[in-house]
Amino acid sequence: MWYRLRIPLVICFVMGLLAFTQEFIPHPWAGAFRQEMTTWFRIMGGFGMFLGAYSLLHMHITRIRRKMLGWGYSVFVFIGASAMIVSGLTEEIIEAVRPYPQPDAFSLFQWLYDYVQVPCGATVFSLLAFFMASAAVRTFRARNAGAALLLVAAVIVMFGRVPMSEYLGGLFGAPGLFPKSADLLMEYPNMAAKRGILLGISLGMISQSLRILFGIERSYLGGGD
């Protein structure tokens, strides 16, 4: 049906064309248009947050309802989310009603953030230190020239970036040798490669943007017709 597909694609094209052309128009109207659009999208971004929250909660509700494997753990998602939402909203209401704010008052909302979210969030990714070390020791082998080059570069960077390298270099009268080697590696071959990758990605982004504007790329529309 034309109003389900054609009109949205036309909107996308027109919006993209306006966004592109306003970049090159120095008139204040172009600035005002940009300001208005970015304000709209900033407000819409707030609604988008709830989309993500609903999706996650829906996934866990489904696990509980269907008694899927490990469904009991999904209950804790709701416990955590409820505790935060209830405490947060309660504090909002108290703040609105209480005439004099008390900055040192105990906040359960902040407490849960500081002593549940922060430790868990910080720890989850720190587990990777062990996994990386274990994987590197067990599988990182110089099987060919490319892998050997990768290994040498990794060792130079890992060693050059820590103070131990300056200490050991100092024993040989050249404290700056290893850090400088790491710097040169980062600022020349690494930088050149990253620039090549960045250029490739940027060209890809432009071509993908054009595909979206011309309606060739439609995956963002979601399923259906």
């Binding site: 900033r42 922060v118 110089a142 060693f159 970036r161 200490y167 850090p179 960045l198």
Partner: protein, 279 residues
């Protein structure tokens, strides 16, 4: 090609040995401190010098775009930067693009302000969080007070002394993005290259190599990479704390890992010489 069954127990043992090595290497320096010193990197020095060069009373915008997962690396450098600003009587304007980082930003700002005896709204402003990403940056570029009409504490930003003569991003001489994700590139493209302010960056070690092209193209004026960057800044501020202490453990772990990797490779090469190349 599946490993022979008999190797599974050895593989498990090797895994736990690697875990133990890492754990011991991290813990040893807290029992036996190592006498290690280091020179700050050139890029860290450039960022420090840029902040030093700002006239007293200048506004500096900090975008602390990280959450608790990256706080070990980025919290110390954020602390260092805010302390430096307060020491120099600059006016930090603090915000974040990450909702889960607001609590950390609040802690940072309140802790450093209390240390320096600074007042919110007068000497600094904590704007909090707004969604929008690049759209928010474009918004701020046209009107800061339009994008954030109130600060985190609900005070109107219009007429706020901490935002005196700061109406848009162009009025801010230096913006520093402390990032755990792709916000540095966003600030470069949608902020720095459009509105002409100087942009410095601090980031996790994972994304640090990706920012070198922007350093060489001078789109970034200075850069702190990972815990080492935070330790460099603490050294320059002459206030060694968590990051500097952490470098001792970092050194030991890196050396242990390098020795293990090289030994494993020597063993591998020896095996290939003795047994011949693998299929």
């Amino acid at each position: 090609m599946a490993a022979p069954r008999g190797n599974t127990k050895w593989q498990t043992l090797a895994r736990y040995v690697a875990y133990l090595v890492v754990a011991v290497a991290v813990l040893v320096p807290y029992v036996l401190p190592l006498p290690l010193t280091f020179k700050p990197s050139d890029w860290a020095k450039k960022l420090y010098d840029r902040v030093e060069a700002l006239p007293e009373g200048s506004a500096v915008l900090f975008s602390f775009d990280y959450d608790p997962a990256a706080m070990a690396e980025l919290y110390p450098m954020s602390l260092g930067l805010l302390r430096h600003c307060f020491r120099r009587n600059l006016r930090p304007i603090v915000m974040t693009h990450w909702p889960n980082g607001v609590g950390l930003c609040k802690q940072l700002v309140e802790k450093t302000a209390e240390e320096a005896g600074k007042t919110s709204g007068q000497d600094y402003v904590f704007l909090g969080y707004k969604p929008g990403g690049s759209n928010l940056v474009l918004n701020m570029g046209e009107s800061l007070q339009g994008a954030f009409d109130r600060d985190y504490y609900g005070k109107p930003t219009e007429g706020m002394p901490a935002l005196a003569e700061v109406k848009k991003l162009k009025d801010i001489p230096l913006v520093v993005d402390i990032a755990a994700g792709g916000t540095v590139e966003m600030w470069i493209a949608y902020g720095r290259d459009r509105f002409g302010f100087d942009l410095g960056a601090g980031c996790t070690a994972v994304i640090a190599p990706d920012l070198y092209p922007f350093l060489q193209s001078k789109q970034l004026c200075g850069f702190l990479g990972g815990l080492r960057g935070a330790a460099d800044y603490e050294t320059m501020l002459d206030k060694p704390e968590d990051a500097t202490k952490g470098m001792q453990a970092q050194s030991l772990v890196h050396v242990f890992l390098i020795v293990l990797i090289i030994s494993a490779n020597i063993g591998y090469v020896w095996t290939r010489v003795v047994r011949g190349p693998e299929d």
